[in-house]
Structures are given as structure tokens and as C-alpha cells.
Symmetry: C2
Subunit: 122 residues, 2 copies
Amino acid sequence: MRYSRQRALITHILKGRCDHPTADMIYESARELEPNISLGTVYRNLKLLADEGVIITLETEDKRLHYDGDVSRHSHFICNECGKIVDLFKPSKTPNEIEELGLTVTGEKCVYYGLCSSCGAK
Amino acid sequence: MRYSRQRALITHILKGRCDHPTADMIYESARELEPNISLGTVYRNLKLLADEGVIITLETEDKRLHYDGDVSRHSHFICNECGKIVDLFKPSKTPNEIEELGLTVTGEKCVYYGLCSSCGAK
DNA sequence: ATAATAACAGTAATCATTACTGATAACGAT
DNA sequence: ATCGTTATCAGTAATGATTACTGTTATTAT
């Protein structure tokens, strides 16, 4: 993977903020420093960076992919009302521990990734 | 919410299978018994049923929403290779316990839902 | 420096999902 | 039981996030 100013910028932006922006939000930020950057370039590099494990993706119910520059093991809380995404460090926080942060938990979705038995055998 | 034959069929199909079909797959199944059912009807009812809590949605990396008729608390395993979705009962299975099912776990994404402190105050 | 090609900007295409329209069916009130 | 209201329908068009394409530019190994 060659160096590119655009990819470095996208990485820098994402690592320097603690929210979970969409591609479009990152595009807006990037244009402040690189006015001619293309939205396609943002999408392409976000996908590359996610494939490389440099950043993380977050599928939400708003149908848009959110990106997270923090690749340490942690989970997320999403407000059903305003859609705000909150980082929950310590991955195995129990619902009770989460409530202590002022959050009301009504549900959870936990997905594990990896290889199933048939794909792992190959 | 009024009764409709189409909605009853969609519910029946989803409750009667243990995979995690997309709207399109449910549409195919539904057309076997209700050949004139519309794809829009399938989408509309799946959304209604999910809002009512009768079924559950699952956002995956294939960009399509998957539906689950099992609303009991459980988590999922998705194979990175073939995309197969496996139910993991007992929601708090540890990675080690999952490995015993023949699955190789390389990552997890855990999201909690509810109300944040500002939205909860209202 | 040059050649090979990854990456770019700009834009068109894709495709899952949602919205719209006129027709039909469920169901409470008469 | 029929009527009127309106939720729901079938069919189809529109939406919008993401991806693919095209000709150009920039990176890097030789």
C-alpha cells in the first residue's frame, strides 16, 4: 500500500477524534485541509483502512456505516432517541455497570466474527 | 394494527425457520404461498414487526438487514468467509466457550441500546 | 530520471430500502 | 349484515449510501 496524502489525512482525522463519524462527516472534515478531496477517495480509503485493521466499522440502524479510530477492544452504546454513540471501555461491562454511566439500557446486540467449522477446516 | 394475511404469513415464515434471512429471502418464501405478495409489503411488515418487538434485526457487513424470529436474548456468530450466521444461546458466552462449538473467533462487536442521560431525563 | 502502477478527482452506476398511488380489505359503528 | 373509515395492499418510482469506472496524477522501485 503506497503512501498518499489523502489517506494519511483520513487516518489522522479519525484517530484525532473520539466520536464515530460517517464517511460523509469525515469527508467534510477532510475538505477543510484538502478542499479537492473526493468523496470516493474517502470511501475507498476508509474501506482499505478497515480491511487493514487500522480502523473499525460500526453498523448502526441509521443505515450508514460509522467509523472508529480506536481499535482497542471496547463496546458501544447507541441512544434510541438521538442516535448518539458512546464508547464503553472494558468490553465486558454488564448492563448494571452501564446504567451507572447515566445510560438506560433496553437491549443489546452482540456479534462474534471468525471462521465457522467448515471454513476453518480449509 | 389490523390483521392482514400477508403480515401473518411473514411472521409465520420467520418464526418457523432458524436461519437469519434477508427481506429478499423472506419475499421468495412468501411467494410460494402468496404469489402476488409485493416486495414492498414484505419490507413494510418486517419494519412494523421489528418496531413492535415481534422480530429482531441484525445489521451485518453484507449491507443487507437480516431478520430473526427468535426474540429471546442470544448473540450471533458470523463467519468471515462464507457469511453464515450461527445462533449463540446463553448471551454471555465467552470466546472460549464459543471455540468449543468449532468456531474460530477473531473479533466481536457488542452494542447496547437504550436512552442516554440527556434523552432519558425528558 | 523513468517506467510501472497505486491512488486520485470527478462522475456514473448499483442496489437495498423507502415512499408514493390508486385499489382492496379489515373492522367498529350504525 | 351493510357502510364508512382507513390500514394495508400490489405495483412501481424515488432515495441515498456505497461502489465502480475513466482518464489523470503521484509514489516508489529500478
